[in-house]
Amino acid sequence: MRRYRIRKDESCVSCLRCVSECSFGAIEKGKDRTLVFHHDKCTDCQRCVSFCPTGAIYITEDENRFRQNSVFREDDIREILLQAETGGVLLSSMGASGKSVPIYFDKLLLNASQVTNPSIDPLREPMETAVFLGQRPEEVQRDQSGRIVDNLPPHLELRTPIMFSAMSYGAISLNVHKALAAAAEKLGTYWNTGEGGLHESLYPYKENTIVQVASGRFGVHGTYLNTAAAIEIKIGQGAKPGIGGHLTGKKIIGDVSKTRMVPEGLDAISPAPHHDIYSIEDLAQLVMSIKEATHYTKPVIVKAAAVHNIAPIASGIARSGADIISIDGYRGGTGAAPKRIRDNVGIPIELAIAAVDQRLREERIRDRVSIIASGGIRNSSDAVKAIALGADAVSIGTAALCALGCHICASCHTGRCAWGLATQDPKLTERLDPEKGAERLVNLVNAWTREIKEIMGGMGINSIEALRGNRMALRGVDLNAKELEVLGIGYAGE
């Protein structure tokens, strides 16, 4: 169904670059080097626009609209038509598009020092952005001669509070994994394999790799668990809480098959729950068995989607022996998810983080775990706000893909990504040079880290540790009393 319209102006030199760049078959070569536009196939990924040497191409929303109706909007009608034709469950990708769900980050304002306490200039004074993730010992132990005993459980050390979110090989290409791994190493942070296993060529990045154990247990074996700095048990993700995964057999080819250890062409299905986890006690058992299998040398992360009861769930996770809780909010991205689930299930990360931090503090177990927040972190100020609401660090997925070229056309599930990211087609994946990609990721995170330092300096804070859960640094606008209460912040002017 047509959504966008492709046009060109007189500056077109018929170089046909757009034809070779379009992976969706929307622009084809006609007779005598003319262009044939198949508007219905266009996803507005902007690849042709970006590569047109003369700037001759325009992609716009099609002017032909369905009749405007304030109840049945254009997308509603479009989707009904599609489902009437196919009988299928609507499949989508990237993050939620629920337009009436507020982005709370945009309604939070940060504080700054004026007169009563000095702000800090990060260019002149030391500013600590390092973060340690893991359990903190509840008491200081001393030996008989009074020396402090090192009873610190295994930790992750991040030079910046920004990590890369879990994205599986299969959903994204090996080149993207390479770029993420190399960038994580340079930045002193971590990338996450997602549940598709770890390609052998990335074993050297072990110190900066988090491996995931999801319900499908794809590619999970002793070497995998031990070729990582930490292990993440994935219970859920923000884009599709309560839903399993399904990587179509079409994408299980070559090295994806080898890395997932799934025969070529066979679907890879991750059941909705882990069928060995039906309770917090079962979770505790999986956490401990992973610690056994890795000889208690690595922290274990439990990743859950932000859902209504996330605070008590997080309390259970904190008591399960897990070292880190990763919470993925309503707007978290995905390579493929049923659209109704993506847009209607879960709660925004801002509210989830505030509720979890508050609950764990009340129960006096906040120091038993660290919290990673994700799901729609777009820039450094979102990161600062998430940390001020109670997170220890944030992780970015969509933003990282954008750094590599993604224009969020949300067509990942088609496997035809024109930017060569969410695809396994070798002709497309070679569009990303992993080294250049790593450089761009390093630039992005370094830039955000500088901005974080500047923001913290303005507030008179000189370490992430002092920012964490510091809700005095936040005020809300355009929020009601209940929202302020859940967020644990005052209104602007209060």
Binding site: H275, S289, T294, H295
Partner: protein
């Protein structure tokens, strides 16, 4: 008595006696042989990676969880969630297995998970099966149902063999049930059963007696057909 760390110091053969519910025994064991007398606790031999574990008694829940290679042989019965997500090696149970046995077992190239249950299995046997072979023999249960409800639901590869002529309860219409020919029995089941019988010193012929049915996924009803891309 000399104390030593079996992880660091290495071992060839270990005997654990008076076992009473201790969890995570043999977790991730790469080599060597462990004999357990008594009743080990949950997550026995999880991530087992090549070692051999013999249990002279019953096992509890989540035995052989995410197992990769090796052999787990249980002379008694096993609890729930046996061999979840198993990707290779052999799990032999002489007695019964609880709910959710063999869920999401896999096979890849030379790695083939094999689960043999001598008695009966509970409901949800082999759900989401992605590869490998599950055999339920129902020894001493002739004439009774040897599996529970939802056998093989959601499976998309691999085979479940049942030594019975009864159709499992509420078998999904997305699965195909067929009778196993003598040729298939000799080619596929006989070598596995011979090994199984030798581990427990029982008669292989008794285990192979009678007819078997096989349950497999109906490839024409794949998940992909469920979706419409927006």
């Amino acid at each position: 008595m000399k104390e030593f760390d079996i992880r660091k110091d290495g071992h060839e053969e270990i005997m654990v006696t008076d076992c009473l519910g201790e969890r995570y025994i043999g977790c991730g064991m790469k080599d060597g042989v462990m004999h357990i007398k008594g009743t080990p606790g949950n997550a026995l031999a999880s991530y087992l990676d090549g070692g051999t574990v013999y249990v002279d008694g019953n096992a509890q829940d989540a035995a052989a969880d995410t197992m990769n290679a090796g052999l787990l042989a249980i002379k008694g019965s096993a609890g729930d969630a046996l061999a979840y997500g198993m990707r290779g090696g052999r799990v032999y149970v002489l007695g019964d297995a609880g709910y959710r046995a063999g869920v999401h077992m896999k096979a890849y190239e030379d790695k083939k998970s094999i689960l043999v249950i001598g008695g009966r299995a509970g409901s949800f046997l082999g759900e989401y099966l992605a590869g490998g072979i599950i055999i339920v023999l129902g020894l001493g249960c002739e004439g009774k149902s040897i599996t529970g409800y939802f056998c093989g639901n959601g499976m998309y590869a691999g085979t479940i063999y049942l030594r019975t002529d009864k159709v499992p309860l509420n078998l999904s219409d997305k699965l195909i049930r067929r009778n196993v020919s003598d040729e298939e029995k000799d080619r596929i089941l006989r070598p596995i059963i011979a090994d199984y019988a030798s581990v427990f010193s029982i008669s292989a012929e008794d285990c192979l007696k009678g007819s078997f049915i096989a349950i497999e996924a109906d490839r024409s009803k794949s998940y992909s057909q469920l979706y419409a891309a927006v």
